[in-house]
Amino acid sequence: MKASFTLSFATVAALAVSAVHADEWGTIKGKFVFGGAAPTATELKADKDVEVCGKHKLLAEELVVAADKGIANVVVFVRDKGVKVHPDLATPGDKVVLDNKDCRFEPHVAVVRTGQTLVIRNSDSVGHNSNVATIKNSPSNNLIPAGGEATVTFASEEAIPAQVTCNIHPWMKSWLVVRPNPYATVSKADGSFEIKNVPAGGEIELQIWHEKAGYVGEVTVSGKAEKIAKGRKKVKVAAGDNDLGEMVLDANLFKK
């Protein structure tokens, strides 16, 4: 009895291991490019705690376009609810830090997984508060004293990114993406993004969002415009790299 139990256990374990090996995973990458003359960021006026916040050059971050027209802070995530998760990513990382630094939020768009801890930190010498306007999760608004921190966790995902603001310093705005899986990212300063270890061999649905454009309704790839209703783009994922190329987002999309 005992022997057979051990044997069957070993078989199951072996099967599980082989199942993992049989799976293939792909990387989705691409780059968002601004279709139009790159806008210049307006300077924000720090009218509270001027002696500290006034020292920093604060720029509006609602639309950040690089010199080569790459668009930063575009949110991309895999929308499929039951998407298979790569075993290396099964448990969420330790924590995500959202810092109140130089009288702005760093990063401007933070990505957190359900069950993961968000640490809201204050590296400034003035007190802040962080008003997290989640919809499905209980919203929170904690005082974060100079050098202090607060932790927030999220039980459910958010369909749209939640705004995080500081009521003491009204120019401070950032966004929080809460997803139930690890397949979510934000484009870097050069507009590029990468989502690793997505299950290959099928089709997944990407959701593309930007704070100024909302759900991006149209992307142009190699001169060909593609309508993507509600910012949802279906992508076939093969093992290895899946480069979506340069996706041009027309300037008009951001005039909302």
Partner: protein, 418 residues
């Protein structure tokens, strides 16, 4: 007056007289009351007329009408109390007053609890809109619902400094029924919001229609909303009592230090004078929602004006027209279903008027948990209980601070102080 207009005027007067007589004799039947749909959210979510209709149908089945409320067991509400509060003002068969909500609350908070009653626009602050399920003055953590006792307390005491009166003269059973009915309207409103937001998350296969299954409508939607109310019953903040041997003068001094210090940071909004003049341009959540829609609307209209229709493909043209129609609809919805947004001033702490109650524990709750829906953040976790009590003591001393340079013996206007 020309002779030509004479007969017309008198005929209008005559028609008016007929209408008045009809009203007096009661030959016209009062139309049944109805819940107003949340058109601001419906338009924001770009719901189609069919989707608006689906939400209305689901809500009718779940909650009934203002005259005939439906009380599903999942709401955890007491049907007998709802019946006492619902419907037109009347006496029932045993001579008991019914229709309490419409008698006492509806003219400001609206039949729907949407704060769009006929008097709402004339009040400052505006009455509470129950539909987002957010309440300010309570004994629970910031994002939690109020307890039943919290609602009863607000009804009993009223909200000083606002138009909300005290209903202390009503029998306890009536106040109790009204508190229950407020919960009913709030659960209904929050369910409506949840349903309207759910369309966005539908997959393409759903073809824009919410699943009308028990699992989705009851288990995922209604229960999620109602359970937050049930949870509030046990969620009262445990407040360690103020140390009995506390040295009040020393405590006030410590509270003052905290008030102006970087940890509690009260000064940033309530101002160096404590007059509430530190942060004058913030909005509460209800008004902020309207402000943000207004911004979207004006930038959307500006973008639409700049767009040239020449060279558009038929598809692009119809999309452009749909956008114009949406902007136009949103403008009308805001005119009819939203009040002009107002900023929220931080409380002037030298008046001695405390909206959420003047007991020390009321101030403790406000500082510990912050104020839900308002910019006031929670000090919980940052400021330990003993220090919160110091701040409470300092705040309670502010209206009577006589020796300081900003004392009550000095002019109360900020401009006179500098």
């Amino acid at each position: 007056m020309t002779p030509e207009t004479m007969p017309r005027r008198s005929s209008i007067a005559f028609a008016g007289l007929i209408v008045c007589l009809a009203a007096l004799t009661g030959c016209g039947k009062t139309p049944p009351a109805y819940f107003r749909p949340n058109m601001v959210e419906a338009t924001k979510q770009r719901l189609t007329p069919d989707q608006e209709k689906q939400v209305a149908t689901i809500l009718l089945a779940m909650f009934g009408t203002p005259d005939e409320p439906v009380c599903l067991p999942e709401t955890g509400l007491d049907e007998a109390k709802l019946r006492l509060a619902a419907g037109p003002v009347r006496s029932d068969i045993v001579g008991r007053k019914n229709g309490l909500y419409r008698e006492h609350c509806g003219h400001c908070h609206g039949v729907t609890g949407d704060a769009l009653g006929p008097t709402a626009a004339f009040l400052n602050p505006y009455p509470r809109d129950y539909r987002p399920g957010v309440f300010k003055f309570k004994s629970t953590e910031r994002a939690d619902k109020p307890t039943h006792a919290d609602l009863v307390r607000v009804l009993h005491k009223g909200i000083p400094g606002t138009s909300m009166p005290s209903f202390a003269l009503l029998p306890a059973a009536q106040v109790d029924a009204l508190a229950e009915y407020v919960k009913y309207l709030s659960i209904r409103g929050e369910t409506e919001l949840t349903l309207m937001r759910a369309y966005f998350e539908l997959d393409d296969e759903a073809q824009g229609s919410l699943p009308e299954t028990r699992e989705f409508l009851i288990d995922e939607t209604l229960v999620t909303v109602a359970d937050k109310w049930k949870a509030a019953a046990d969620a009262e903040i445990q407040v360690p009592p103020m140390p009995a041997d506390i040295d009040l003068v020393a405590s006030i001094a410590k509270g003052k230090e905290l008030f102006y210090g970087d940890k509690a940071n009260c000064v940033k909004c309530h101002g160096v004078t404590g007059l509430g003049d530190g942060q004058a341009n913030d909005y509460d959540d209800w008004n902020k929602a309207i402000v943000e829609i207004g911004k979207e609307l004006s930038s959307g209209s500006a973008a639409a004006r700049e767009t040239s229709t020449s060279g558009m493909s038929p598809d692009e043209l119809s999309e452009h027209r749909a956008q114009l129609a949406w902007l136009d609809k949103f403008g009308r919805v805001l005119d009819g279903d939203a009040l002009e947004p107002r900023t929220i001033p931080p409380r002037n702490l030298r008046h001695g008027i405390y909206r959420g109650g003047r007991r020390p524990i009321d101030l403790y709750y406000r500082i510990h948990a912050g104020i839900n829906g308002a910019p006031m953040p929670a000090a919980k976790g940052t400021v330990p209980p003993e220090e919160i009590w110091h701040i409470v003591n300092y705040v309670r001393s502010l209206p009577y601070e006589l020796d300081g340079e900003l004392g009550a013996d000095k002019p109360m206007l900020a401009r006179d102080r500098f």
